[in-house]
């Protein structure tokens, strides 16, 4: 079974927001709501500055607090592909999962009331396509693939680079990895 994961190479992100818009259109996300975002962080004092561009989305945690906190089983971890998904018809909109996610990856769909978030574009992946944000990523900063396949782009990227996950200490075990600097894995 595939073990899907995303690798985000921050070095290559150009902060263009193509991913943000593509995701919204692909998934009919209502106005003013988002499944993914881009963080621009600048540190230092003029003229010695450092910029970090990082796109964020649901981490499809292997240890997902959002799923644990869902009272109806609407949120679940797909055992086959590891994606954290939602059975919309089951969701009561109690917002537990929104409160439970340490990454603020969830929102309540303003139009329909269910708790929504990134699905790793499961519907596209099923058809053999890349997630919408990955497909349009101008910087090829986002890459997607199967960790169980040693030849997949994600496996190669993780092998060749040092990577990190966000808020590792929460023990959520994210499946979205970040490459920040040039350099081999530590």
């Amino acid at each position: 079974m595939p073990k899907y994961a995303m690798v985000i190479d921050e070095r290559r992100c150009v902060g263009c927001m193509a991913c943000v818009v593509a995701c919204k259109k692909e998934n009919e996300v209502p106005p003013e709501q988002f499944r993914t975002r881009v963080v621009e962080k600048v540190e230092g004092k003029f003229p010695t500055l450092r910029m970090e561009l990082r796109s964020e989305l649901c981490n499809h945690c292997d240890n997902p607090p959002c799923v644990y906190n869902c009272p109806t089983g609407a949120s679940y971890k797909n055992k086959e592909n590891g994606m954290v998904l939602l059975k919309k018809y089951r969701c009561v909109g109690c917002k537990s999962c929104v409160a439970a996610c340490p990454y603020d990856a969830r929102y309540i769909n303003e139009e329909k009331g269910f708790a929504d978030k990134c699905t790793f574009c499961e519907h596209r992946v099923k058809e053999g396509n890349q997630p919408a944000c990955v497909a349009t990523c101008i910087g090829k900063s986002r890459i997607f693939g199967d960790l169980d396949d040693p030849k997949s782009v994600v496996s190669v990227a993780l092998r060749d680079n040092h990577s990190e996950v966000l808020l590792a200490s929460t023990g959520t075990r994210p499946r979205v990895y970040y490459i920040r600097k040039f350099g081999k894995p530590e």
Partner: protein
């Protein structure tokens, strides 16, 4: 943050009462969700190309049930490579913008008052035709000028030519690429093209003067940029502002604005004196090395350091980096290059650097355009105007796209002859050309102002007659021929039928031509017929083109100089002109010479501007998909300065320039990312058109503060970074 009771939640709560109604309306919604999850809803896919900016990326539209759900990049299009930028992805926002122009409108009030009545197409077109005929009779056809930008040009420029006027003005010349194209033509005999023929992906070092790639979001170019960054190419970014590109750079040089030429001349001098240039290349292809060497002697790194605020060691280090990595050095010649009025010469400096590094036509530098082309079809020749064009102004090297502000001046002065009609399509002149007062004054002198547009932007709202064009997703346009590495052709075709009563540009042009008695210039029935004819002539399978969107003609790429593929320089001497005789003959410096520009007085800041990655000039500011990402622009102010002046991040201020022009209110972005002597804002905001519900008076308009502009005497480009502003606490937000 405190106890907040969200309005939305309250509404939802009260909505409980109507739970019964909700129940019934949820059923189809549930069904759709289910059907979608089952993969039962499938879209129809139609390729076309994007018009949110001028990169013309191949796009594929997904249509479900007559609604365009999504746009994706066309994998076979070289500008898109399967990807669209945020703006291209948000193209449906234009299509479904509720504020779109829906019917023809005829003004019922004074010009600019914004009072209109709906009209039928027949009525509106006849009115325009009558007025055009009247102007022609009274003043001659040359008295009508066209301002145009983008694909509408392909329909309305022929109309104007058929009508008999040579007076066209596109902001893409005198407000954009003019100086760059002219500077490179004078040096290499040709421009860099659009898309720029840069081989950044293979560069070892890339130099960006301004050129804020990432924010300047030309799709494949930014893809190349990211690729180069990812591959570890070293970027030298020269920008008074810590741009996104600067954030990726090996070296960021926060240059004092308006002094770029000092740095370039010092580099040239250094490369020459250290012998760090490609001697073979220069000997083989270039002219005027001695004159150049002599002319740049005075420009030492020490001198340049004082001019530019860049430490000597950095000037020297970067120059060495260039020399050592030649020829795989990409000097980006910029695109928006109308900065300080000496921009042709600034581009010349870049050209000379490329020549010295031997990077023109070399891997990692620039590549050469395909030599292939499509045959020209027979067409009825346009009438020869009886008066000389006035769109070239007094500028010996003005380009065919015309000098917009020269037409404007003549419209005001009536000299050398009067201009009485403006036909405006696809450009928002009030935002595009500096000094709005002059634009408004010129508009006052007109007998007729017609606007063909999709949205009621500022300039449109000045028009006597407004003709609503449908968006690019609802129409055919001219085939886009790409002359990059290979010869390509792309099709724009409607993905859905035009909404409301809007019509494609070709239809509007043809109908107007009919009414003007110029029908024979538009001899086809539908634009599709015309395209089919062209495809037949060019040997392209139209049905295939319809299916794939873009066809690349095989074996047409000859990108780099090789012994069997020598470069061709279409200059006067047939060589790269380090020293330009042509310029000398017209009384300009044959080798660029540094001119000092005025710097801001105490308390003033130079106003500089640029792009947001999610907007195109003014045209996307009302687009709901993009508006939500960046609803209003901000004025960037250095942290230290902000502290001195008592401004905090997010405060609203107004800007007042040296001539007393005052901006709309704008938020301060307090940041380390900019020098202390300038402020920066994204161009295109602060529209005055009330019809634009999202964009109306959001943010400030940089153009409103650009009352002064420095005209490049060589080509007519309007240097627009020569204004100084003061920040004032917002008085009231009325």
């Amino acid at each position: 943050m405190s106890f907040e009771f969200s309005r939305r939640s309250f509404l939802k709560t009260s909505g409980l009462l109507s739970a019964g109604i909700v129940a019934s309306s949820l059923l189809p919604d549930k069904f759709l969700l289910w059907a979608e999850e089952q993969g039962m809803i499938k879209g129809r896919y139609t390729p076309t190309f994007c018009e949110i900016c001028f990169w013309k990326c191949g796009a594929i539209a997904k249509v479900v049930d007559g609604r365009v759900m999504k746009l994706e990049g066309n994998p076979v299009h070289p500008g898109a490579r399967g990807k669209l930028c945020a703006r291209g992805n948000g193209g449906t926002g234009l299509l479904y913008d509720p504020n779109r122009l829906k019917t023809p409108l005829i003004s019922t009030g004074a010009r600019g008052e914004g009072k209109y009545r709906k009209a039928t197409w027949d009525e509106a077109l006849s009115l325009v035709a009558d007025k055009l005929t009247a102007i022609k009779q009274k003043y001659g056809p040359e008295a009508v000028a066209i301002f145009t930008h983008g694909t509408p040009t392909d329909h309305f420029l022929p109309l104007l030519s058929a009508y008999g006027s040579p007076n066209v003005g596109m902001p893409s010349f005198a407000q954009c690429r003019g100086p760059r194209d002219v500077g490179l033509e004078l040096t290499f005999g040709e421009g860099i093209g659009s898309p720029e023929r840069l081989d950044m992906v293979n560069s070892k070092v890339v130099v960006l003067f301004g050129s804020h790639l990432g924010e300047n979001m030309h799709n494949s170019q930014v893809q190349d940029f990211a690729e180069a960054v990812g591959r570890g190419a070293k970027f030298i970014v020269i920008d008074p502002r810590f741009s996104t590109a600067a954030g990726k750079a090996h070296t960021w040089l926060p240059i004092k604005p308006a002094t770029d030429m000092a740095l370039m001349l010092a580099w040239i001098n250094f490369l020459l004196s250290e012998g760090l240039y490609d001697k073979e290349y220069v000997a083989a292809y270039a002219n005027g090395l001695e004159e150049l060497t002599a002319a740049v002697k005075e420009y030492t790194p020490e001198w340049a350091s004082k001019e530019t605020d860049i430490p000597v060691y950095q000037i020297v280090e970067t120059a060495r980096l260039l020399g050592k990595n030649a020829p795989a050095v990409c000097i980006h010649p910029g695109r928006h290059t109308t900065w300080y009025g000496d921009d042709v010469q600034r581009t010349r400096c870049m050209g000379i650097l490329m020549a010295l590094l031997g990077s023109w036509g070399r891997e990692g530098g620039t590549f050469m355009a395909t030599k292939a082309s499509f045959p020209k079809g027979a067409a009825k020749p346009f009438p020869e105007p009886s008066k000389a064009p006035l769109n070239l102004g007094t500028f010996p090297f003005a380009g065919a796209e015309g000098v917009t502000q020269a037409i404007r001046s003549s419209t005001i002065s009536g000299a050398p002859y009067p201009i009485k009609g403006w036909f405006v399509s696809g450009t928002n002149l009030l935002k595009a050309i500096p000094n709005q007062k002059e634009t408004l004054e010129a508009i006052k002198n007109l007998d007729l102002l017609v606007a063909v547009d999709v949205m009621p932007f500022d300039t449109v709202m000045m028009a006597d007659v407004i003709l609503p064009e449908c968006s690019y997703l609802e129409r055919y346009d001219a085939l886009a021929v790409g002359k990059g590495k290979s010869l390509t052709v792309s099709l724009r075709q409607p993905v859905i039928e035009p909404l409301y009563e809007s019509k494609p540009g070709w239809w509007i042009a043809k109908e107007l031509a009919k009414r003007l008695g110029l029908g024979e210039y538009f001899p086809w029935n539908s634009y599709e017929d015309k395209i089919k004819g062209q495809c037949a002539l060019w040997g392209i399978d139209y049905e295939e083109l319809k299916k794939v969107g873009t066809i690349t003609i095989p074996n047409t790429a000859t990108p780099f100089i090789t012994p069997t593929n020598p470069p061709e320089f279409k200059t006067a001497s047939g060589k790269i002109e380090l020293y330009s005789k042509e310029l000398k003959e017209k009384g300009f410096d044959p080798v660029p010479r540094y001119t000092k520009h005025q710097q801001p007085a105490k308390g003033e800041f130079r106003l500089i501007y640029g792009r947001s990655a999610v907007h195109t000039f003014s045209r996307t500011t009302n687009n709901p998909e993009l508006h939500e990402l960046y609803p209003e622009n901000e004025v960037w102010l250095n942290t230290e300065k902000a502290r001195e002046m008592g401004f905090s991040n997010g405060d609203y201020v107004t800007l007042k320039n040296q001539d007393g022009a005052v901006s709309n209110r704008i938020k301060v972005k307090v940041t380390e990312r900019i020098r202390e002597d300038c402020v920066y804002m994204v161009h295109g905001f602060g529209t005055t058109s009330k019809e634009l519900k999202n964009a109306f008076r959001k943010g400030a308009d940089d153009q409103g503060l650009i009352t002064r502009y420095a005209v490049d005497p060589i080509c007519g480009g309007t240097g627009m970074r020569v204004n100084f502003v003061r920040l004032e606490k917002e008085k009231n937000n009325a």
